[in-house]
Symmetry: C3
Subunit: 268 residues, 3 copies
């Protein structure tokens, strides 16, 4: 595997020298590593956001990819650091549950390794920057062909986040906003198949309601609010060429209710 891709996802911020330090460590070990920035703007230490983010973009990558993820509120404590082998690549992550949603979409339990081998760390490991001192060197060595098992022993348990699940009711679903994108579109945790089964629905977002279901934004005039299936496969509330988060005064955690027209008759 020459010239392997190493993606980077951190909460360091776009102006941070920490990003550069991590890149330097990887490239000093393997200058042929192909670094690909995913985001350095994960909200600081927000594990739930990270879990959504990873589920939204990592599945498009291939198995040979390395993914370095540094969102690490527990840095320097005894939380483990992990290598997780998935269909979409090998994750290098703190054991804090930030890959919970990726894990739950995997059919078989993943192969997980604890990164304990000191040989593949920086000579001096700081107490506050394991991304640079442990995860980045592991990425550098793996990208050169080091076998995963050389990094430490298998792990048989790991942290999972307790994420909100939508609730089934006789008349529909109760979910919530789980992600607000850059356009202000509200992505919920209600799944596409639950929406698809009911073409006539009405939705409540906070104190506001909505009944227009479309396939894409451009089917309605600019400024019109609609419900649709997002490209993530979930119910999305959007405003064509506008900002639904602002219009509905909604954000992550805002309850979203979907009432299905046929529910009273057929029970769903």
């Amino acid at each position: 595997m020459p010239d392997p891709v190493v993606t980077l996802t951190t909460d360091f911020g776009r102006d941070s020298p920490y990003v550069g330090a991590v890149k330097g460590v990887i490239l000093a070990i393997n200058r042929l590593a192909r670094l690909v920035d995913l985001s350095h703007e994960i909200p600081p230490q927000d594990l739930r956001y990270t879990s959504f983010f990873l589920r939204a973009c990592l599945p498009f990558f291939s198995r040979e990819t390395l993914h370095l993820i540094v969102v690490d509120p527990g840095v320097g404590t005894d939380r483990a650091l992990l290598l997780v082998e998935l269909e979409c690549g090998k994750l290098l992550v703190p054991d804090n549950g930030c890959w919970t949603e990726l894990a739950s979409s995997t059919p078989a339990p993943p192969h997980v390794i604890q990164l304990t081998e000191p040989r593949y760390r920086r000579p001096t490991v700081s107490a506050t920057f394991h991304g640079r001192d442990i995860l980045a060197p592991a990425a550098g060595h793996l990208s050169q062909g080091l076998a995963a098992d050389a990094l430490g022993p298998p792990a048989d348990s790991w942290v999972s986040l307790d994420l909100p699940h939508p609730r089934r009711e006789p008349w529909g679903w109760v979910g919530e906003v789980v992600f607000v994108d850059h356009f202000g579109n509200l992505i919920t945790n209600i799944l596409a198949q639950d929406l698809a089964a009911h073409r006539e629905c009405c939705f409540e977002i906070g104190t506001r309601s909505l009944s227009r279901v479309v396939r894409t934004y451009g089917e309605v005039p600019a400024g019109t609010a609609v419900a649709l299936i997002s490209s993530f496969g979930m119910l999305e509330i959007a405003v064509n060429q506008g900002n639904a988060a602002a219009q509905f005064q909604a954000g992550v955690g805002t309850p979203v209710i979907m009432r299905t027209a046929r529910a009273d008759v057929a029970g769903g």
Copy 2:
């Protein structure tokens, strides 16, 4: 063409999982593609800004480059998706006019293709994310050497933006601010050659005026407002080590008037 460069320009926002999804799709097709981020901070769905942005940076690239551009307010409607072959590379773009200024600086009409071939799309095409499902796979396949014509039939017309042009008057020019850079410098649509012909000018920006023309910022003390020829080849209003946008309370669309001293005599 091994290891081709694929540049990315989007309005997805720096914290967006959409960027990562696009990168994953390209790299899963051709893991040797060299991804180069241009910007993911195009103001949402701002086609005029996109047009300026592309004209400002794409001409520096070479013909072998692929440029993926995803600013797409019409996603999911029947607007076409295009491959445009220019001197500065091949553009993969929605047909919304976002490359209008690049087009007008090209001597011959460009070769344009409609991306209709389903074989080079993702197996399932969403209604809201053609950047990921159509443009990104096209970039991946082209970067592997696929001939452009395999992607669809030639297009003989496309959308153009109706952009503001500066107006010639007997006493000078009436233009407007078309771009404000990160330093607050005001880039106008008045061309360098029109400024260069008249070393003594006076300028009106909104309700304020200015008469100092310089070659570069450092010729005047910090805080002084000047007019100069921007590196884009247009009239620029700047404040040395300051922020002209703030000082002049100006932004995109603010009128800028250039009065040339010799105009009354010689007519320009």
Copy 3:
């Protein structure tokens, strides 16, 4: 040196077409150059910030790396442009002192060259964008193997910033905040060894005080303020899972006093 890494550090802003122009110029000369973004969010024209930034991340890179740095308030004046050879790579920089801290951490004086050779500039050099017209072509040619000496004559002097140094007092140290990271952690210019020698200290940040010294954030409950040794090797004031800059109303330049408990007896 095939496929060399060229890092980019600028104050152009994340939405800037200037970044794309620089990338285009480098890749048009050497399409195999591996571009690595460090930051495009250096605060505009902030040389002191740049100096800290470079010292914080460049030392992790290897000697073969090229580092293009465009923070250039003096663009177009007669300030020189330099190639600086360091252990961590070759810097291409305006001569404005932005690499002062890197220079002072180097044992021997670096080899420095003035970039005067017109052959390795763009055919037309603008007065306002030497990053694109002089530094970027130099990076492109160096990445193809051009010898550094071909770019111009050696320089034997260069600008240095006058940076604040911490002051030794009989009872401790008086320093200041030199960097605030994305998490709000306050990095000071008081060195790790001065803190390490005194496990019992008390600190004054502006009008507030603090006496808790820890090894890492997670040793205290969320919301607790602590002092620790940052991953940069300097005294850091932080709030576990909180924002110290907000809590202490502190920023770059805020005085930080460290009183060492044993100082009265032993003089430190």
